[in-house]
Structure formats: C-alpha cells, structure tokens
C-alpha cells in the first residue's frame, strides 16, 4: 500500500476532555470545557499558558512527521491563548509541520483573519491552514455584545454566515496577484495596481471592499478545514473547505460519511487515550486500546475511504508521545505513512496543488 495515510493531531489545551459533549460543528452546544475530565496530564493546567508548552508539543508532532496540528479556539469562557498567535509563536521554531489554528466566524472580522492567516503563512513559509467554525455559543456572543445568539438562532444562518466568511477569506487571499509587486525603478511604481483587485463582497451579514493589505500568501490559499458531525455542516464543508474533520464510529460510517463529503480530504477524528478503561462520551469515536490496535483501526478505516485522521489525545503530552513514538513507527512498518517529509508546505503534505488566482487574467 502506498504511504498515503495522512495524520494530524489536535492540541486542545491539556488534552481532550471527553466527558463533556463535543464542542462545536455549528451545532448549538455551549461547552464548559473545564468539567470533570479525563485528563491526568503530567502538565499542570498553568503550563498551557507558556510558549514552551506549545513549542514542545508541536516539535514532538513534527518528530512524528505528522501533516499538521490543530489549535482549538472558541472565544468562549474557557481560558485559552489566541490560537492564531500560538501557531505563529511556534512557527519559527519548527520547519515542516502544518499549523492549523481555529477561528470563529460569528464575531471576528474576516478582513483581520484573512491577513492573520496569510501572515501565519509567511511566518511559517507555507505551513498555515485554518479551521473555521460557526459558533452557537450565547456566552461567546456576550463577550462581544454586538449580537445575541441563543438556542433559537437558526443553525442555517450561522452556517451561511460562516460560508460567507470563508468566501471573503479566500477572495482576500487572491486579491493580490502573485506578481503584483514589481519594484519598477524606471516608472517609479512599487506595485502594478492592475494586479490588485477589489473583492467587493456584499452579503447578508457583512460586506468587504478589499483588496487585502497583505500580499497573497506563499501557498496562495492556505487550506481551509471544517469540523462536521452532521449533514448541514457537511454541506458547509463542501461549499467552503478543502478538508473536513468527520466523526464516524465504524468503517461502515466512514463509507457513508465519505460519500457526503466527497471531493474533500476526509480526516476522521478519533479521541485517543491509550490503555484507558474509563471510556468517555464524545461525538468522535473514542479509542482506548494499544498503539498496535489503533494502527489496525486506522489502516482499516483508511481502506474504507478515510484520507487521514485527526487524533485527539486525551492527555497531553503523554498520548501524543505514544502517537509519535509508537503508532507512527507501526504505520511506517506497514508502509502506509511517510518515513520522511517530502514537501515543505502544508499543501505539499496534503497533496494539494497551489491554486490559480481567481482574479488573474
């Protein structure tokens, strides 16, 4: 079998807390993430507010040759460092691994986020991605005070707004053609303004004129991801994203959901707590066996159509180390996972070509 299995890890705080309900996907679950948890991490809770904690985790994931890591964020009441800033802080100290922070569409400005992800792509020289999430959280809405979001807010509206948001991110990334900067001494022109484009987006929730103030990022379009547990969100993913995190519970599920997200890179979420007995609840499948058993499962689900996996360690850094030091060698022995990085960008790892600019003549 060709080494075509993709592998990533979710770096959520000090590990997944699976005793709480899953936290998003645009569905109306508000999530105090600090309930009684599964995590018995060696790292105390304060460590996750230090840069060293994040640098060590991402370096560990890079030693395991993973495609990328994700950083959770939700603008809610759980104390977290800003995910884009954490990713950027880590970027200069790593060299190959993709960095995918979460951004929340409902409250932040797409203009700011577009340039932030473009800048992360510059800081990491082509390793940025972004996971975009809708937010049905009333608590997060109160933090901004500009709109009310309640259990009655239609999911369809939140998803449509998120789709608009991604459309604006993408248009802004393309708003500079790749060769817009000309530095033409003879004519005194620094840029060729004919290669800069107004995006002129006008939607139901916001409008954005453009162009971006940040030139087109190294990857052209950093990959966009969406987490989806349900059909309406699958539809958002098909409309907006390059890859989707899905939550099947069996190989059969992998096939069924795979059909719904066809055309996207399908990364199956698996919560992983090696050797645990206290299996928690989660929207995602929870795995508590040995690394060898997980390798069997991943190979089986890969054969059923999963392009890759996002493993969500129950406890950081412990379960991450088992992934990188035990699971990865097993997958390599089976010939399904890379033995060295063969690309330098996130798109390169994922096998995605650099896209043409929609505005270029």
């Amino acid at each position: 079998m060709a080494p075509g299995l993709h592998l990533s890890v979710a770096l959520d705080d000090t590990g997944r807390h699976p005793s709480t309900p899953d936290d998003d996907s645009g569905l109306h679950t508000s999530t105090p993430d600090d309930g009684p948890g599964w995590h018995t991490s060696a790292s105390d809770d304060g460590a996750r507010f230090t840069p060293e904690y994040w640098v060590e985790l991402v370096r560990e994931a890079e030693r395991g040759l993973l495609d990328f890591v994700t950083f959770e964020d939700d603008l809610g009441p759980v104390g977290r460092l800003d995910a884009v800033l954490v990713a950027s802080r880590v970027a200069p100290l790593t060299s190959r691994i993709g960095l995918v922070p979460t951004v929340v569409a409902a409250h932040t400005e797409p203009f700011h986020l577009s340039k932030a992800i473009a800048t992360l792509d510059y800081v990491s020289t082509g390793r940025a991605g972004v996971r975009v999430r809708a937010s049905g959280s009333p608590e997060a809405a109160r933090h901004f005070g500009r709109r009310e979001i309640t259990a009655d807010t239609p999911l369809a509206d939140l998803l449509d707004e998120t789709a608009d948001y991604v459309e604006v991110l993408r248009r802004l990334w393309d708003s500079w053609e790749d060769d817009a900067e000309i530095r033409d001494v003879a004519t005194g022109r620094f840029i060729d303004r004919d290669k800069l484009h107004y995006v002129d987006f006008a939607g139901k929730w916001f409008s954005v004129k453009g162009p971006s103030i940040t030139p087109r990022p190294p990857q052209g379009q950093p990959p966009v991801a969406v987490l989806s547990h349900a059909s309406p969100v699958h539809a958002l993913a098909r409309r907006s994203s390059d890859l989707v995190f899905t939550t099947p519970h069996s190989a059969e599920d992998v096939r069924t959901i795979g059909a719904e997200v066809e055309g996207l890179l399908n990364f199956v979420d698996v919560v992983v707590g090696f050797g645990r007995e206290d299996a928690p609840e989660s929207d995602a499948f929870v795995f508590t066996g040995s690394p060898g058993e997980l390798a069997d499962l991943l190979v089986e689900w890969h054969a059923a159509g999963a392009d890759g996996f996002r493993l969500r360690p129950a406890s950081l850094p412990d379960d991450l180390r088992v992934i990188t030091r035990e699971l990865v060698p097993l997958l390599q022995e089976r010939g399904v996972f890379r033995t060295e990085y063969t690309a330098t960008t996130l798109r390169g790892h994922l096998g995605l070509p650099r896209p043409a600019n929609r505005y270029a003549a």
Binding site: G46, L81, V84, R89, V185, R193
Partner: protein, 427 residues
C-alpha cells in the same frame, strides 16, 4: 544623567522606505522581520514597533503605487518575533474602531504570555467610512467620537486585563460597549501590556496623559520637543501620575556617514530617493485637492488655488487631514518657494522632512543625547530608510557610544518591556 529609550520602527507603507536602494529587501517575508528585530535586540533597544493600515491608500481614485505597499497582520508577526527574540518589547498598532475589546484584550494577553511580558499596544482610532468598507462595523463613527470610543475601548480592555482578580468574571457597559462573561486567562506577565499613544491633538494629549505609558510624538527638534514634553508631562498630575510614568518618544530618522559632510550628502540623496518627481506631485495634490498630473515637478508651484472642502483626491492617508486651511497653507508654500527659488519637488522635500539625525556616529550620539538631556524627549522611535538592514550600522556604531557615555543600557536589566521602560517588571 537621564537614560535614553530607543525603539525600532519597522517601516510601513510610507515614502520613508527607499525601496529602490540595492540593499532594500522584502518588507513582507518573515526573514526581514527577524533580521530587523534581532538587530534591535542586539542593540538593546526597548522595543520593536509596527504600524498598521487597514485599507490600501488611493489617490485620484486609484490604488497608490509609488510607495511600498503591503503589510502583515500585526499580532501574528509579533507572536512570530516572540520566538526569535528574548528581551525586545513587541509593540503593535491596533485600531480601536474596527476591533472588539474582548478579542483585542485576549490577543494582547496572549502575546504577553507568549513573549514573557513584552507586549505593547499602540492605541489608534479611525472613523472614516473609506477604511470602514473593509469591516462589519463600516464607517460608523462620527469624527468627534473617536477619542471617546478609544477611551471606552481601553477602559473595557483594562477591565478584562484586570479580571483575573475576580476569577475572570467581567462586566463592562457604557454607550459604546455592553459586554460580560468570563475572561479566564492567567494574569498577564506585565500585569497589563504597555500602552502607547500617537495622537497630537488636544484630546490625544489628554488621552495619553490619562492612559498611556508612552507617547509617540512628531516633535523631535529642541524647542518644539521641549514645548511638547513640558505640555504632556504637566497634564499627568491631574490623573495622579508622576512625570516619569509617561515616556515621550518622538519619531525620527537617521543618516550616518564617515564625516558630517558625507552624511549630509547621503541624507540629501536619500531625500531625493524618497521624494521622486511623481511623489512630489502626489503630495502636492493632497493639499491642492485636485489633479495636478500635468504639472512639471521641476517647475514652479501651480497658480490655481486648492479646492476647499472635503478632500476627495486622496483617501486612506492620515496626512491629508492635517491640512485644515489649505488656502493658507498653499499661500505659505508659494511664499517659501518664491523666497528660496524652489521647484515643486524641492519644496516638497523641504516640507515633508522629519527630524533626522545626520552625521558621524559620534555626532548622532551627541544629537540624540543632547535632546534627551534637555528634556525635548525621553528617547526616540527610530525608523530607518532601508529594510531590513537599516539598523545594522546604527547598532554597531552609535549604540556603543551611547553606552560609553552611560546614557543607554549596556544590557537588559529585566525580562519585560515594563522593566526596560520603568524598571519594574510588572504592575
């Protein structure tokens, strides 16, 4: 002897940057930021400073194409720089009009944690609908409310910075913001990020006296600097603050040479590169508020008068707003040009000059120190004309001379920006 504070301003989109210089590199690639910041840290500067722009400037209805164009995102590049520096303060300009307090407070507290206490916020305001077209909020703010909103924004953010005392619980309500909830982050290493302020109006000065740790001014010459310095320091008492709690840091450029004469010659050449004939015409159009593209930059000033009223020729450019009485300014410029026999380009070179330290390293060190000791400032925010290597020679030649004279630190004495500015690691 007063200790001098120095900051390194990464050039933004302005005509200071001589992009045609053979040594000019990228102003976007991260390696440029690394080079620039690491040089500033090698020179023991207080902080790195990044300006911001939220819409590309336009003139005559077209995107302005003569200067450097394009910037990174402020927070993202500062967080990246935190990884490749250890002591340098990281100051970012963040607009209080097109952001929300919860998000900005969270980003600054994050940056302070991720940098070990080196974050600073240059609070600016905007109200124009032109910039607002890029944002959900749009151009909603009446001009007279901009400082009001900035003050309330900073009050709301400060409530969030301090909410660790209450376990992160917060509630803030006024005519601009109504927010509540939980801001559950540990106390920022500096207590709060350093606050910088750059406005020069009466309201701006009062805002700085009430709220800021440092003020970024335009007044860098002796008499002008002393007047500004005395004015803002005098305002502090009514807010229960002492004069050393607000640092006055004017913007300045510099040109070095092996002799004073060589430096003068080089400075003249730099000014010619910064203000091309076409650039001079564009500057003139901003005052005249009309298309002057048919005029010869090497010829005399136009004999037509400026168009009075709303400036429609240039958008997204702060300097346009400074021409309060264009007819009077035009008259003054004509008189100056006539008296000195200046062409359009020569006049613009003269009128747009900012304070520049020109000379040998020894002479520049003396000029800087003399102004600080004479209470014209507490130091300077320096912007070089070449990116990213513009501070290399300054770090190697001027800084050691200031250190020898005992007026600038030989090494950092604390880890945080607050310790560089005030000697205290945190609030």
């Amino acid at each position: 002897m007063k200790q001098i504070h120095l900051a390194a301003h990464f050039p933004g989109v302005n005509n200071t940057t001589v992009w045609s210089d053979p040594q000019a590199g990228s102003h976007i690639e991260f390696s440029s930021f690394v080079h620039f910041a690491q040089t500033a840290e090698r020179a023991k500067f207080d902080f790195f400073f990044l300006a911001e722009g939220l819409r590309l400037r336009e003139q005559n209805g077209l995107i302005y194409d003569l200067d450097v164009v394009g910037r990174p995102d402020t927070f993202t590049v500062l967080a990246g720089l935190a990884a490749v520096t250890t002591h340098l303060g990281l100051a970012g300009t963040i607009n209080s009009t097109f952001n929300e307090p919860f998000e900005v407070a969270r980003q600054f507290v994050s940056l302070d944690h991720l940098s070990g206490g080196r974050a600073a916020w240059n609070v600016v305001t905007s109200w124009d609908a032109f910039t607002g077209e890029n944002f959900r909020r749009g151009g909603f703010l009446p001009e007279e409310q901009r400082y009001e909103r900035a003050k309330r924004f900073l009050d709301a953010a400060t409530t969030l910075f301090d909410s660790w005392r209450d376990g992160g619980e917060f509630a803030y309500r006024d005519e601009h913001f109504d927010i509540a909830g939980k801001f559950d982050l540990p106390r920022s290493p500096q207590g709060r990020p350093i606050v910088l302020q750059a406005g020069d109006s009466e309201e701006g000065r009062e805002f700085a006296a009430a709220k800021a740790d440092a003020i970024f001014s335009r007044h860098a010459t002796l008499a002008d600097g002393q007047a500004f310095y005395a004015d803002v320091k005098r305002r502090l008492a009514k807010y229960g603050r002492t004069p050393d709690q607000l640092k006055v840091l004017p913007a300045a450029t510099f040109v070095l040479g092996d002799s004073d004469a060589e430096a003068q010659e080089r400075a003249h050449e730099v000014r010619r590169q910064q203000v091309s004939g076409q650039t001079a015409i564009k500057f003139l159009e901003q005052l005249w508020n009309r298309d002057l593209s048919e005029y010869d930059p090497d010829g005399p000033l136009p004999d037509v008068d400026p168009v009075v009223g709303e400036n429609t020729i240039a958008r997204g450019r702060a300097s346009v707003r400074q021409h309060r009485d264009p007819l009077a300014t035009a008259r003054e410029w004509r008189e100056l040009a006539a008296a000195k026999k200046l062409s359009i380009r020569e006049l613009i070179i003269e009128k747009t000059a900012r304070q520049t330290f020109i000379g040998t390293p020894s002479s520049v060190a003396t000029q800087i120190n003399d102004l600080v000791q004479a209470d014209a400032s507490d130091g300077f925010i320096l912007v070089p004309h070449v990116t990213p290597g513009g501070f290399d020679v300054f770090a190697d030649t001027v800084v050691p001379l200031l250190q020898e004279r005992g007026v600038f630190r030989a090494d950092y004495t604390g880890p945080t920006l607050r310790s560089h500015l005030f000697g205290e690691e945190s609030l």
